[in-house]
Structures are given as C-alpha cells and as structure tokens.
Symmetry: C4
Subunit: 125 residues, 4 copies
C-alpha cells in the first residue's frame, strides 16, 4: 500500500487527567493518545511540539513509526526533552517526514467509571 | 514554527449542562470548551459569535491567544457582552485575524460520573 | 455574517438507544441529534434522508432552520413521513438549499450514567 | 441519490476492549464499529486492511455494502482471513470501489457503565 495521509497534524485539545480510578490496570489509567498510522513502506520520523497556555513550547519529542505499522503514542510516556505535566492544558503539533494519519483519544478514569473521547486530528498541510 | 490553521471555525453543537456532580472541583464542573492553538509568532485576536434557537446572536466575545500559546476557553467563562446561558442549545463561530486551530470539547458531570466528547471544529475558510 | 458551510452533509453512524435511565428528564433521555447552524440572512430549507441496513431509505424529512439560528434536531422527534425506529442502525444525509454546518451528537443513558459522543458530519459537496 | 463520499478512508485508532459489563446484551458488549454508508445505486465492494504495532498488516477483509444501505460493521465480527485480536492496538484502512462515507465508533463497557466515542474517519483520496 502506498503512503496515506499528511505530514502535519494538529491536536488543539490536550489534557492528561491527574488521577485514575482505584485499581486501574495500565489500559484503564487516565491517558491521552495520538494514534499514528504509517501505511507506507518506509519508516516515518515524527516530531511532536507541545504548546502551553503560559510558557514557551516544549520539544521536539522525536519518535519513529515503522513502515506498515501503527503506534498509539501516549502523551503520558513522553519524557524527553521533558515530561508532559498532568492536569495541565496543552496542545500539540505532529510533524512527519512521510505521510501519516493521526487520531486523538483520551481516556479519563478519574471518577469510578471511564469516559472516552476521540477525533481525527486536523490535517494542516 | 509558522502559523498553522484557518481563520474561521464553526462549532454547531453547544450546550453547557446545567448542574454538576456533588463536590466537583473546578476541573470536573460541567463545561464546554473551545481549545484554540496559535502556533504563530504574533498574537491572534479572536472574536466569537454565539447563535441560539430563538433569538438573535450574541457577541462578539473578544479574546486574544498569544503567540505560541494554546488557550482552552470555557464558554462558561464568557461574560461580556452577556453570559452564555446554561441548559440552552447554542452554536458558535470563531473568527481570528491569524490562522488558528480549534477543537470542541464538553465535560458533562450532571450524573455521578463524567462524560466527555470532542471533535475538531469545522474549518470554514 | 455571510452564509457559512456546505449544502450536503453525511452522518454515517445513527442509532437511537432503546431506553433511558430511570427518572430521566427530557435533557437526559437517550437521543441522537443533528446540530445545524445557519449563519446566513435567509432561512435554510433542509431535507433529511435516512438510510437503513435492510430496507429502502425513508424521507425526505423536511424542516427549516431560520436565518441566524441554530437548530439542535433530535432524530427522536422525526415523525413524518415515518418515525425513526429505536434500537436500529441507520445513517443520514442532510441537504440544504443554503450553506449550513452540521454536527452529530448522541447521548446514551441506557445505563445509570450518561455517555456522550460527537463529531462534525462529513461535508460532501 | 447519487454516490456520496470517498473511496479510501482511514481510522488510526483501533482497540476492541477485552471484556464487557456483566449481563451485557449484544448492543452493550464492548465493540468497535466502522459505520459505512453507500448512498449510490450500485453495491460497493469494500476491502479493509488492519495495521498493528508489531507485525505485518492483516487482510484484506472483504465485504459488500448494498446500494442505498448503511452497514455498521463491528470489527469484533471480522474473522477472515483472521480474527481481530482483543485488547490490542490497531488501525484500519477502508477501500471501496464506489464512494462511501465512514464513521468510527467505540462502545466500551469494561466498567459498570458504558462509554462512547465517535469521529468521522479520515478521507484519504
């Protein structure tokens, strides 16, 4: 299959809930994800920049998405150059050297039950 | 980074739930947000117009989104020229003098648990 | 403000949950809505066609969205030419004689809590 | 009505929750769906390819969507050429020989309550 998608995507909403339900296993911990698909035959090199409300942007966060693979990246796991703060509003720009598709999902388990939301990211090129 | 996005966005769904779970802190109060990202190097001046089902539109509501910042605007906080009513259907048009990206999110905590939904706004230019 | 949007929109997901939480008031009854915004200075005449999995389409359902107004149409309320069945998968095409913006939302209160989801409809022209 | 939509769609997020609430009937079992609408007068032949994080893609999964019909396909039901694993991240590309519209929905009932999310798929042609 050929490469599908765009090279620049934006997620304007960002927020990692600070806390999770008691006894949550890893799949149920509050998290926010950028689900990235690379349908092409070459690895995609991706850079993420995180924007905040009251300070300069952080990043770039660098990662690869291998050829013909999807990567469901949790913002919770971004540690370099710095950790993404919990309970803080942010936004992100995701840039790739090859076409990819990006979808945004949050699972919030601060209360006793989980709540989900998702949207395609905004294709900006 | 250069300016990313569009100058006019639409959110056709709008509704601030009238009520919240007992003991909700500020993050868990029922609210509706327009998450706005300005990646550019100059501040964006934004005007929001609110449409209703049975009266003329309200606004413009004016705000700034600083350069290289995101602003997660709660419709709950819009007070001038008038407060956005609770428990009332509305819609909004968000216009900016510079490219921005807008995402719509609602957190509803009228019941004992929270429920979330989100979507990219409609880019109308 | 001028007319914003498109004249043809599609919602591929459709399902009115059959049942609601005990004691739900009207705002909490399980429902599915097409939120329509007409920013223009003339009324929009809208026709909705409902598609099913195993029978010919129903409609057109006709309604108006007045100038400078939003209408949050519940599919639950569509009665003519026929009622939209509960607990049944459907899809819808929304056509207007003037540009509008359409957003799809479902509130499901079959369980003790509510769950929400939303997305912009697909702009098909 | 003429054919509406596109011939290639992408859903970057994919995950069938592994488990459901006690006593869930079929409508409440955790599932993920691609809701497909074919408004045209000829059947659409659809092929789905599933991408994973750590192995080569699976598929194509073949199905038809009849003329003037919608099909709310559960990924849970895809069995040939192989079952879609539960509790595993995936992504999907949906290709059709005629224009269709695709919307992505998940119902998660692992906890005592259900949670919903939806988005239009990304139109990639």
């Amino acid at each position: 299959m050929d490469s599908i998608g765009r090279k620049r995507w934006v997620i304007a909403e960002g927020y990692i809930p600070d806390g999770s339900m008691a006894g949550a296993d890893e799949t149920l911990i509050s998290h926010e994800a950028a689900c990235i698909l690379n349908t092409g035959d070459e690895d995609a090199e991706v850079e993420i920049t995180i924007f905040f409300t009251d300070r300069e942007p952080a990043g770039p966060y660098r990662l690869s998405v291998e050829a013909r693979r999807t990567r469901h990246l949790r913002f919770n796991d971004l540690d370099h150059p710095e950790r993404v703060p919990r309970g803080t509003s942010y936004a992100s720009v995701i840039e790739s050297d090859r076409p990819i598709v990006v979808q945004h999902t949050r699972l919030d388990s601060r209360a006793a039950e989980i709540s989900l939301m998702t949207t395609m990211a905004f294709a900006a090129d």
